[in-house]
Point group: C2
Chain length 408, copies 2
């Protein structure tokens, strides 16, 4: 056995914690520190200068899997914190925010890609659509962590962001499947593929909620019979993993959607807080530092030329603006005030794993050349850094205003 993973875990724990503390002192969220730690450990900054030497931690299967467990646990914990009564009241609102937050990025992404890919033939059009698809999927985990840190996850804004991100994920996956289906020359046609995806999605939610209602009853009995016993959080985590796996395996839906749903199912127990506490400790001791650091570790800045640089600039701008405008406008229409609409728009800008995975799928199928991946990576970093920073500023400004009003 190669024991390097022990060294890597030690480095990740020390660096994410130290940079987290530094960022906190600077008034920035700790997750930014964890990503910066990842950038340093992965050598993204000096790697092009040293030719790949002096890289303490390289991306590996081991880290990917620990990171994946991390993101699943973060989303499960977010689900546990969800206030279902509030989700019910924000449901239609969240749906509108999600739809606008998918359509506007899709359109703007297409427009940005046009000068670079052209729209001469069907394949080029598909490539342009695909660039749009990459920026549709919000990676809500960074926003979740930030909102948690600020104690705002359960508020109206937090619930709207989370609910919209769930719906956004589903819509994003449907569009991805349709586009890759359309690109597939041997396929049974886009219509059949799209119908299949819609069917699977509906089936997933029906099954997950149906079984979830039984599980909820089972856990209510378990909690009553065995209060404050290890078996409750352990079985809860097993349900989380099972839902995450089933979503991917049987329905082709992101594992984090399954994990979040599992969390919602267990969100109204007398011991939900107890479960969440154990999950959070398990998560922050290893898994979530590895997840956030691995975003930085996976990043490289190699192979960038002026054309790609220009594309990256436009792409990043499109990614940020489209979510703020799309989601923000939808929120405003739904009755949120201007400040809260802006918060929702900004809460949705963060891109992460999903954008990278979608991009890699496009590269694998030859829809997009691999050199464009760097632009996606820049969007992931910039949006991951901006989302928490801007959110924190907006919420702090609010708090200050409230204080002034109170003291007046």
């Amino acid at each position: 056995m190669d024991y390097t993973f022990l060294l890597e875990l030690a480095l990740i724990l020390v660096f994410t914690k130290v940079f987290g503390i530094i960022m906190k002192k600077l008034g920035l969220p700790q997750v930014v520190g964890a990503i910066v730690a990842g950038l340093l450990l992965g050598g993204a900054i000096w790697s092009p200068l040293t030719g790949g030497a002096f890289v303490p931690v390289r991306a590996s299967d081991t880290l990917s899997i620990i990171a994946e467990i991390g993101v699943v646990m973060i989303m499960f914990s977010a689900g546990l914190e969800t206030d279902m009564n509030e989700l019910k009241s924000t449901g239609p609102v969240a749906a509108l925010i999600a739809v606008c937050g998918v359509m506007v990025p899709l359109g703007l992404g297409f427009l940005v890609a046009m000068p670079f890919f052209g729209i001469g033939d069907f394949k080029a059009v598909i490539s342009c659509v695909f660039i749009g698809v990459i920026i549709t999927a919000t990676s809500v985990s960074i926003t979740v962590e930030t909102l948690k840190e600020l104690g705002k996850l359960k508020g109206k804004v937090g619930t709207a962001i989370l609910s919209a991100a769930i719906i956004d994920d589903v819509i994003g996956i449907i569009i991805l499947t349709v586009v890759t289906g359309l690109d597939n020359p041997s396929g049974a046609g886009a219509g059949a593929a799209a119908a299949d995806v819609v069917l699977k999605t509906v089936l997933f939610f029906v099954c997950a909620i149906g079984i979830g209602m039984l599980l909820n009853k089972l856990f209510k009995w378990l909690v009553k019979k065995y209060p404050h016993r290890r078996r409750v959080p352990i079985m809860g985590l097993a349900v989380c993993f099972l839902y995450a796996y089933s979503a991917e395996h049987f329905f082709g839906i992101a594992d984090i959607t399954g994990a979040y749903l599992a969390g919602i199912i267990l969100s109204n127990l007398k011991e939900t807080g107890y479960i969440e506490n154990k999950i959070d400790i398990g998560s922050y001791m290893i898994f979530s530092p590895v997840f956030f650091a691995s975003i930085g570790i996976k990043t490289t800045f190699e192979g960038i030329n002026p054309s790609i640089l220009l594309f990256a600039l436009l792409f990043v701008a499109a990614g940020l603006v489209s979510k703020i405008v799309g989601c923000g406008a939808a929120a405003k229409v739904c009755g949120f005030n201007a400040k809260d609409s802006l918060k929702i728009g900004i809460g949705m800008i963060a891109r992460g794993e999903v954008a990278l995975i979608v991009a890699q799928k496009g590269i694998e199928s030859g829809i997009v050349p691999s050199v464009y991946l760097s632009a996606v990576i820049v969007l992931v970093i910039v949006s991951s850094l901006l989302a928490p920073v801007l959110l924190k500023l907006l919420f702090k400004a609010d708090a200050k205003r409230e204080m002034l009003i109170k003291s007046a």
Copy 2:
């Protein structure tokens, strides 16, 4: 990404917990339940009948690494619980127990192997010695978990077992290196290899304890400045991983020895209990169930013939008797009473990862044919099942007697 690991983790969590609860109801330790869960999940029982079909969880790199993190965390936690004052007073005693607990198995293993391998040539003699080497290494983690469950880890017996197991590990590794060195025809000679190993071991302890004294001061400052903050257990875990890695990487010593030493270094802080609590939660939520289940999962009963069966019987008997007699007699000589000597002997019988790793090393270098691995696996299972069961019985009998005396 292949998401099977999420299903596997869910199955392991559910099965280890359910069988753990069942075993507890039957008065057996929970770890036995976890190993049984592993045997069921890994299909060891029906796999020969079904030709490998219906195996829910197969051994994989992912599970191995999570299991390895698990065993490292268990040993770190055991180190944190060590009472240094008691270790100091039991030091020479532990050394004698360890030496006898290595020499007696080595001799008995050699005798058992003789009729099967012969001693006609040098290579055959080495094979016989190697069979002895396989049964020298005690796997103390199961005993640790059992003693913890019984609340006896900090007692005289617990400390003697743990200290002896540490020393036993070091002696075992030295003998292993010497034997494989002797078998290596191109080597620089056994003498040089042995000297190298001794030097490395001494160096490891000097470095680990030297740096440990500085780290201890650093943590005392950290705990005083930031009481009850996440950074303390996180940095503690980082030290544990760093020590585990350094032991393997720089000194060729088992990672668990490094982890245990790291625990000892942090065992006298004002917040040792706080660190231990967070480590334990992180451990029992995922890592330690995976570790104990994976022992069962890795097991197969294939390719066994009458000769191997006879060898396995003698080998298992030698493995059990030699530790009980060797360690028990040494303990008795050192002044333990008969009951406690028996407990120490039985506490040392458990074999695990190390025995399997040593056996696999022997198979890789062609010293022992691969079919003999099944005997080692049987010893691992039998001793892992017997050690906790017998320990529990002995401690319970004691408790009963004490109750009778008190009530008289």
